[in-house]
Amino acid sequence: MAFERNMDPKKTPMPTQDAEKRSHNFEEVALGYTYEMAVAEARRCLHCKNKPCQSACPVAIDIPGFIGRIAEEDLQGAWEILSASTALPAVCGRVCPQEHQCEGKCVRGIKGEPVGIGRLERFVADWHNAREDQKTEKPKANGHKVAIVGSGPAGLTCAGELAKMGYEVTVYEALHQAGGVLVYGIPEFRLPKAIVAQEIEGLKKLGVKVETNMVIGKVLTIDDLFDMGNEAIFVGSGAGLPRFMNIPGENLKGVYSANEYLTRVNLMKAYQQDSKTPIQRSQKVAVVGGGNVAMDAARCARRMGADEVTIVYRRSMNELPARKEEVEHALEEGIAFKTLSDPIEVLGDENGFVCGLRCIAMELGEPDESGRRRPVPVKDSAFDIPVDAVIVAIGTSPNPLIRKTTPGLETNKRGCIITEDEGGLTSRDGVYAGGDAVTGAATVILSMGAGKEAAKAMDAYIKGKNQ
């Protein structure tokens, strides 16, 4: 080893934009490691023989491998190892829930903080993406055509894998812009849209065609896609159907689903001064829910000028499903947390605008099926929070459009497409599916993993059929 190991028990801190300043802009919060920081952090890795970190990464990145290259200051080498397992490292390095995955199993985490695996992954990807001389060679065509429905991480990954094998790939996206949740949901300050755009450009260079404004099930059906000569189809349509609370007052003006709020802010760019998209400039906002979506909505509301933003969550701080870093950033930005509270009514004024949120207090009882302690209402504990907007972020389920227009495509009672195995084969011959459309709302990296496995299965299917 040509370097000295760094035995600092703490992670090299991530430089971030000042909390007060950033709560008024949409620029990226985490600024990224410098070269020196990255090398220093990489040298904290112990290169454990059994690689516990790697086994906890859904796409099994050779983590000590790429980190070792950074420690040796061989960034190209690090990039090559990374890109062998993941198509979107600049994205995953930023948004993976590392504390539950790779970093959660890191040996350095036992006595101190784990190695900053996600931060290092991001560093290498950003380094690579900033270089002008990346060349993509268009693979040799194999004469077979496939179609991908949805351009989120699942669809994009599947498209990239198949394109590299020589398939003629077309991605059909319902919205006017490709990227799925990466463009309409996750905000700019957490995942700059330029990164997503660059990934999509990369796919186009591989020969992937991206057709926007194509709602499959309406403009074309899955059967039409087969008629057009596609031999296999991947459905990565996500879980975009918002759930509401079904409480009185939910249709008052100023009650948004997180999807609507985030779409207005991110996809339609309502955050830019000259945007043509209307959005309410609220002063006091309640966001219901405790996941990443709730954190994003709350932090967007803050940046849109709200003085008071409160996350209302029915369990306690310990059960928040959001990434730890997002919760910390939200707290730093002055977002308040009203935990152990459950909304029972949205209150409105005489013009039909929201003026408050009525909640009841909860306490934690016995653990439920998920292993988390079940919240139970406390008697006579109703209280009101004065707000002028409520954003509902209590989850989403798969959109029924494709299910309803594709005969023979089976789904379970939650509306998720049923697949046979990790390859994603559905109940329809030649139709594969993966990502949130199959699992319900999950994570970027799991969706990518599903897209990748499906690509392999589709390739095997088409080869088998043509033998």
Binding site: V215, R264, M268, K269, P400
Partner: protein, 281 residues
């Protein structure tokens, strides 16, 4: 990109456009709509498919110029292309089995009512069409409706054309004359649909209305288009836009429709100034 092959002003504020969109033309059904963005940075705006030609691969839209989005669309001319044009969205109108129908259109709602009336006529149903406008200047689609209806009535609020009165007056008169309708289709401003429904409820005639709440994606993703219908929350873009008018909570829909009124007024002024500058410069 979606090329405009024909553009025709129907009155001072309503324009008809025929747009090249072969895939949409192939699947379109009465009652469905498209969402467009005129320019790369525009808002997404829904418009009903007023007509379609499967052979020529074209879709007709008829729109009232009310705000920034529709003004932007109106700046485009034959040969120009609309940036985004997606559809056919929504559930087609259920017309099967109808033998005698009253189709009521108010203002630009006539554009939405027309394809329904036309399809009914083609199916061999008896169509009684009633179209209402504020005044003579605003009348649209008169000849189109005449061509496909067995009874055609035109009313204006001020009596400057056709009969003086409201569409509800004309409808009630037809009902009283003994016409028994299988169904009434009412499409126009919310307030008009509300009153048509109050009337038809009295006579026990099933009434379908076409709701037009504010929309973004049009695929069921944002929930912005939600309405209360029979006490349940429905998404107009996927569950509708047609609904049983006797079950719709019109008062709530009217409130929700006015959500961005202030913002829109500002946008409209800006757009007017911009256009003014273009004209001057």
């Amino acid at each position: 990109m979606f090329e405009i092959v024909k553009k025709e002003p129907l009155n001072a504020t309503v324009t008809k456009m025929v747009v090249k969109a072969p895939l949409i033309a192939r699947k379109a059904q009465p009652g469905q709509f498209i969402i467009f963005r005129a320019l790369p940075d525009s808002e997404r705006i829904p418009l009903t498919i007023a007509d379609y030609d499967r052979e020529k691969g074209t879709v007709t839209i008829i729109f009232q110029i009310v705000g920034r989005g529709t003004m932007e669309l109106n700046t485009l001319n034959v040969g120009d292309s609309i940036n985004d044009f997606v559809g056919p969205l929504g559930t087609p109108s259920h017309l099967d089995g109808l033998k005698k129908v009253a189709v009521v259109g108010g203002g630009v709602g006539c554009a939405i009512a027309y394809p329904v009336a036309k399809k009914l006529h083609k199916m061999g149903a008896q169509v009684h069409a009633i179209t209402g406008f504020r005044n003579k200047e605003l009348v649209i689609l008169e000849q189109d409706f005449r061509d496909i209806s067995d009874v055609y009535k035109i009313v204006t609020d001020d009596g400057s054309y056709g009969e003086k009165g409201l569409v509800t007056d004309a409808l009630e008169q037809l009902i009283k004359e003994g016409n028994q309708y299988d169904e009434v289709f009412a499409i126009g401003p919310l307030i008009m649909m509300k009153f048509v429904c109050l009337l038809t409820k009295k006579y026990g005639i099933k009434t379908v209305v076409s709701m037009n709440p504010i929309m973004i994606d049009g695929t069921g993703m944002c929930g912005g288009c939600r309405l209360t219908v029979g006490g349940e929350t429905k998404f107009a873009c996927v569950d509708g836009p047609d609904f049983d008018g006797h079950l719709v909570d019109f008062d709530e829909a009217m409130k929700r429709g006015a959500m961005y009124r202030q913002f829109e007024a500002r946008e409209r002024e800006e757009e007017c100034e911009l256009m003014q500058k273009e004209v001057e410069g």
